[in-house]
């Protein structure tokens, strides 16, 4: 009896939490089908109407949304791929090789994780202008790759990888690099998944640095383009903006819904082990 009671309470809480979590998503999708006037209207209704195509047209008239989408996809994809390669290699290097100064080097690098990124904001910007990299996707990708977070995460995971396996691979004459890619990497799926997810989500929504370093509407990423649409002095069209939000949201959502099991599993098993 008591068990059923607890069960019902848990269900009720979880359902409420789910509703709260989902509501803004649902609202965004509905609002994308509303005209600006309908969104402004005080007696707002939650019934979708048929303004979606008109909103989309207006959005396309006001920003190069196609380019923005492509920029976002390219930057995020390249960044995520490079993060996985560079961070896993560095993490492995730190975890499995005893060389002089290993610990010191790792610790010194780790300190940068405690330095707020805003410290590098201004100098990086000056650096980018001198390198003529303003507006370039690389201006977003490379500085983000310098974060120690992924290396830290990977090092933690690799430390749990049994040394015996590596040694036996060595005895078989596999070579260091080959050992890493053929023997070690394939067993580290969860760690890769969780780092990949984190990198993907973080870069897809990255706003502050693109705001500083991208100046041409055509080189904007999606979030930046959206933020510029609500900047003052514009004719605000929330219907169109909500369509933009849907375009920003959809790729992540689809990706997530397809891979959600791995998403969560990756998060659960790989992310943190103290």
């Amino acid at each position: 009896m008591k068990r059923t009671g607890t069960k019902i309470v848990i269900y009720i809480i979880l359902i409420i939490v789910s509703l709260i979590s989902l509501f803004p998503f649902v609202w965004t999708f509905i609002a994308a089908t509303h005209s600006n006037a309908q969104i402004f209207n005080l007696d707002y209704t939650f019934i979708p109407t048929n303004y979606f195509t008109q909103n989309l047209r207006q959005l396309r008239e006001s920003v190069p949304i196609g380019s923005n989408l492509l920029n976002s996809v390219l930057i995020t994809a390249v960044f995520t791929a490079l993060t996985l390669v560079l961070d896993s290699m560095a993490g492995y290097g730190f975890a499995k090789y005893k060389f002089k100064g290993n610990k010191t080097l790792f610790f010194v690098c780790l300190i940068t994780m405690m330095i707020p990124p805003q410290v590098t904001m201004v100098p990086l910007y000056i650096q980018m202008t001198k390198m003529k990299w303003v507006n370039s996707p690389w201006a977003i990708i490379l500085p983000s790759l310098a974060s120690m977070f992924g290396v830290f995460l990977m090092r933690q995971s690799f430390e749990q990888f049994p040394n015996d396996l590596i040694d036996s691979a060595r005895i078989d004459g596999a070579g260091e690099v080959r050992t890493f890619f053929r023997i070690v990497v394939p067993t580290m799926k969860p760690a890769f998944a969780s780092l990949g997810i984190l990198a993907f989500v973080q870069q897809w929504g990255n706003y502050m640095w693109p705001l500083i370093v991208l100046n041409k509407p055509k080189s904007y990423t999606l979030p930046l383009s959206l933020a510029m649409l609500v900047a003052p002095g514009n004719v605000i069209n929330y219907g169109a903006i909500m369509v933009g939000a849907v375009i920003t949201l959809l790729p992540v959502l689809i990706f997530f819904l397809i891979f959600q099991k791995n998403f969560i599993r990756g998060m659960l098993s790989g992310a943190v082990k103290g």
């Binding site: 805003q118 410290v119 706003y207």
Partner: protein, 309 residues
């Protein structure tokens, strides 16, 4: 998603390292750290170490039109006598004193519920809880600004329907702060609860069974087993959240632009305005160094606490 396996194979196809493989075992082992760490380290030196040092130099300079002139500690002096800077620090502190504990407790509870043996559809609930963190910060901020609109926004309508009164989410300092805290909590609780869940799943079942034999109730079990076992995970989550709060930018920038009367101005927003609206690069750099010192102090404190226990 066999990312890692695929990636391993593909990488070896592109870069077979044939000649490398013929190198002597010892040479290989000596060179390996350079091969593995080198690429990351080069990028790290260019885009992390150099800017950090450059920023330190800039904090003693005035930068105008490409020229830097040494101004000694003028930038620091300016900040230490600037009430707005103190206010931005204070606001940031308030947010993390209020938001981080609320969210951590909620995440802890939610993580436990999601781990409960009693429920079905776990996968669904976990997925839905996790979703808010997927939305990009700009989109959700715009949506929240519409939902919280003072003049007929959804939240105020609901409040009025439930017999409450409409609140001044934008024109009252405390409410604007509350709005930002609510927004942050909405976005990050699910993520943190999944992290908690990961910790919960690693607690050996035997501990609970033993406690049950000793006659411990659910509360005692939670307090005596779950919390201590979960401590590293909780600390990780809190540390992450504090870091996030210190970098808070998008929400205050797009929701309130730091208003009303700077009452939601965060340090990072202040530094951004100083740097990229006033183009006072020197002052912005000095401010970021002050922030860095504060973060360092917090971290030290945290290490101390963890160690003592």
């Amino acid at each position: 998603m066999y990312i890692s396996a695929v990636y391993g194979t593909v990488f070896m196809r592109i870069f077979p390292f044939r000649r490398w493989q013929r190198l002597k075992y010892k040479t290989q082992k000596r060179l390996a750290p350079i091969i593995f760490i080198g690429p990351f380290l080069i990028n790290f030196l260019i885009f992390m170490v150099y800017p950090i040092l450059y920023s330190f130099v800039l904090s003693f300079c005035k930068y105008r039109g490409g020229h830097t002139t040494f101004v000694n500690i003028k930038n620091y002096a300016y900040l230490f006598t600037e009430p707005t800077f103190y206010q931005s620090l204070f606001n940031t502190l308030i947010i993390f004193i209020i938001q981080v504990p609320i969210m951590t407790i909620l995440a802890l509870i939610l993580g436990n519920l999601l781990n409960s043996a009693l429920i079905k559809l776990k996968g669904f609930f976990r997925m839905v809880t996790f979703m808010p963190v997927l939305i990009d910060s700009v989109s959700y901020t715009i949506v929240f600004s519409l939902l919280f609109s003072e003049n007929g926004g959804f939240i105020n309508n609901v409040l009025q329907m439930c017999g409450g009164s409409a609140q001044k989410w934008f024109s009252s300092g405390p409410f604007a702060m509350a709005m930002i805290i609510i927004a942050l909590t909405w976005r990050w609780t699910g993520y943190n609860s999944i992290i908690m869940l990961s910790g919960l799943q690693n607690i050996p079942e035997e501990l609970y069974e033993a406690a049950s034999i000793d006659g411990a109730n659910a509360f005692v079990k939670f307090w005596k087993i779950t919390i201590p076992q979960l401590k590293p995970v909780i600390i990780f989550s809190v540390f992450n959240s504090i870091n996030g709060t210190l970098q808070l930018f998008t929400e205050p920038q797009l929701l309130t632009s730091g208003g009303p009367a700077n009452s939601t101005l965060t340090v990072v927003l202040y530094l951004y305005k100083m740097g990229f609206k006033n183009f006072n690069f020197g002052v912005a750099s000095a401010g970021s160094y002050i922030l860095a010192i504060i973060v360092a102090l917090i971290t030290l404190l945290q290490f101390r606490i963890t160690k003592e226990e």
